[in-house]
Subunit: 275 residues, 4 copies
Amino acid sequence: VCKYIATKMANSKYEYVRHFEKHDSCLPNCWIIVRVDGKAFHRFADAHAFTKPNDVNGIKLMTRCAHNVMTEFTEMVLAYGQSDEYSFVFKKETQAYKRRESKLMTNVASLFASSYVFHWPEFFPNVKLLYPPSFDGRVVIYPSDQNLRDYLSWRQADCHINNLYNTAFWALVQEGGLSNKEAQTRLSGTFSSNKNEILFSEFGINYNQEPEILKKGTILLRKEIAEEVTITDHKTKEPKSVTKVRKKIEAVNCDLIGDTFWVEHPYLLNTVGTC
Amino acid sequence: VCKYIATKMANSKYEYVRHFEKHDSCLPNCWIIVRVDGKAFHRFADAHAFTKPNDVNGIKLMTRCAHNVMTEFTEMVLAYGQSDEYSFVFKKETQAYKRRESKLMTNVASLFASSYVFHWPEFFPNVKLLYPPSFDGRVVIYPSDQNLRDYLSWRQADCHINNLYNTAFWALVQEGGLSNKEAQTRLSGTFSSNKNEILFSEFGINYNQEPEILKKGTILLRKEIAEEVTITDHKTKEPKSVTKVRKKIEAVNCDLIGDTFWVEHPYLLNTVGTC
Amino acid sequence: VCKYIATKMANSKYEYVRHFEKHDSCLPNCWIIVRVDGKAFHRFADAHAFTKPNDVNGIKLMTRCAHNVMTEFTEMVLAYGQSDEYSFVFKKETQAYKRRESKLMTNVASLFASSYVFHWPEFFPNVKLLYPPSFDGRVVIYPSDQNLRDYLSWRQADCHINNLYNTAFWALVQEGGLSNKEAQTRLSGTFSSNKNEILFSEFGINYNQEPEILKKGTILLRKEIAEEVTITDHKTKEPKSVTKVRKKIEAVNCDLIGDTFWVEHPYLLNTVGTC
Amino acid sequence: VCKYIATKMANSKYEYVRHFEKHDSCLPNCWIIVRVDGKAFHRFADAHAFTKPNDVNGIKLMTRCAHNVMTEFTEMVLAYGQSDEYSFVFKKETQAYKRRESKLMTNVASLFASSYVFHWPEFFPNVKLLYPPSFDGRVVIYPSDQNLRDYLSWRQADCHINNLYNTAFWALVQEGGLSNKEAQTRLSGTFSSNKNEILFSEFGINYNQEPEILKKGTILLRKEIAEEVTITDHKTKEPKSVTKVRKKIEAVNCDLIGDTFWVEHPYLLNTVGTC
């Protein structure tokens, strides 16, 4: 039995190894973004026969996972997703996990990944999930509101560019009968206008009428919902009607590059900061 | 259509935001450990009615997930798990993800978490998983072999201490009829020897005969397996028997604090380094 | 002679050690402050018989060194000094040394320290410098203009508090005949109002009339000086008078906590940033 | 007088800005090197008419400064200097400044720089120092003894290579009458053996007989000196002779790439570590 006393003493002897851990708090008064990206999702999409160029069920599953993450982290004000990636925006003054980078990125990435498997059957009821996917994550911090908007604009512009390319590419392959190689050559060096033209004149596709979810990606935000609810008055004991503000996570598929979105949702940037 | 040209140009205008990302490569010539810990697993264990003090199916599911991680990351030499945590050891000279901390910890944590949901039905066929769990992760680096061994000893000593406490605690509650509060008071300030004595004299439990998986936790390592295989000889076209060395991930439940384990597995520390 | 070929080859063999250096660029779009502090300056002041509570020559020497630093680093917009410390403010978008922390802090600290010895004889013509002093340095970054102002206010408020205390302390010792210990006890727990009262009623000192350089510290800034200069006109070859704006480093001793200073020098915060 | 109470309260209001400082402790159980490099020393050497290719007084002044630094930092085991740079090696387990990077590099760089001005007249009694020089500094950490030796070998090999080149270059210019441009062209693409040959056949210089201080640079180390001293015996009150070990900083100019140096000074690497 002396062994266990020895064990306990040994443990304190070993505890010095804790001091090799790094402090990794994010700079205060900055927006914190955690972005997750699917690892090797080309292979994953092929293995599970995702529809090309976009699998709407796959996109909706991503948003379902992001919804889980935003429900768990109440200090997130916004999330933006496209393709196999999602960016989550913590308010500037968040103290979640004492702003520790490791904690923030691993909790988000692991919850996203476990949600993906958990909710899979709801979106792919007839497809067997062959293996569990992984997502890498990173933290990036931005000092100013303009930086934050530029980050999100960067991701949404990326969505546009890739989606237009992919739409044209798969039209050439699936309807035009070109090989992957030929389609690639055909599109090499083309401008957006050329791709639009190809889609319209050769395949009768008006790109502007493609679904917004594909052209813009998905924004998740907390909307404030005013609800009439009936409660019992403390004094009179009579029922009375009051307005209660409830926050609800909503998905929208709209432009966030221009000012309109930000003017319509002023509370997103107006979080009360320490400074 | 000019819109899309503008989009592309806009995108390069926004791309400056990439420079806000940090370089976070681990110092070369050091052991890299990624540890994952279940988030709020007390609540998770209660919600899914895990057996107290230990749910062996839960432990085996953890090891199943760790097996997935080691299969994916071939440069891991060892993993050690106990309770709701698992530590993964990358060899000193690994160049996996260019040794980037964020990539390493998020890929490991997210694969671990998605595996947990994926393999759940194999270990809990009759228990519905109520929600997807998350795991936090961290990277710690150690310069010397001794530091690495001390880290692992720290975790295994921690396993001993907690398991002995929990075994005594739940014996007092489940068999002794004490309330949680009373059991806590009874054990407060006791040494390991006292807990062993309580277990033996009051409940007839010889702690030393408890299963090794509970007392020691689980070590996953790559064993080199020599196999006789029959191949066709290039020249003679005759079948012939040759020995092929194959690496196979194996789980063992033994002491890693003493020297024996390391003497028996010399290749674990003898990875060929850059220096 | 083969030795030297071997040497060169050896050198490339050793060069891997460069990869152990860290990337340490400051986050973009943030104010960068480098603060230097005299190391063990109590001892230094005693050794060189500095006047108590303030040695104005010592203060002026500090400002002379800071002037050198601002002349060398043209992207500094402001410096603030008090006691044995000086803070230097780089504009948000500076690319000096690629914003590398190590480079910024060591160049500033070492130039400050070498200037201190270099200019010593100008301020202490009759005092032999006994040993070379050292200064520690640090980098702190601030995302917003308000954070920057609060940092500077923090240092100036610190100047006030310490100077009032020191003025009272040395009055009690030098004129009041108290021992250091007795003076310390007398001031322990007193408010600023009490110290003012002691100074006024016991020593006839109106603290508000003390020199601004002691109460406020010193601000170094680049003033824009408009000068009339006579040049030769390109076309007419006649002399003509034009206004040229020249930047000149100036020292002022005024309040920077209130808004007045910032309203009067709007260009300090209005640096053109990347975002 | 209320102003000063307000000031104190204001100060605590501003103190939040301290939390923007980074924790920057070096990883435990690693060698810590601080290297200082003269900033723009080509210009400095020209301005003060340093002898080409080497100014031995300039080199000795560098070593005098390094001696100051080693005297101040007693936990340094070794320093190595060549040209306008000096590297300082802290023992692995040093707790100097809690291993904080900023503190270590700025104190070393600033003391080095102030020492340079302070000791200038001893080495250049007839040359007026025109302006104070600055030195940049950096911290690099190395996990293993081999890494440390490779770092030092890298710097010494660099010394060899540069000194041989410079010796040949200035022989061609000063004695051979070539322009700088011509000398550069002549040496371009040559091996060490070619440079040796040029020196010997054209200028009668046997490079191997050049002074060691130029070919090897300078190593500063603490030698243990055993001294016979006479003390008074406690009991007998008689004088008696005892051996006292004293540490003394010594400069040597020898090879540190091979094993000999390390075998002769075993205590350099054998510092007692935490692990």
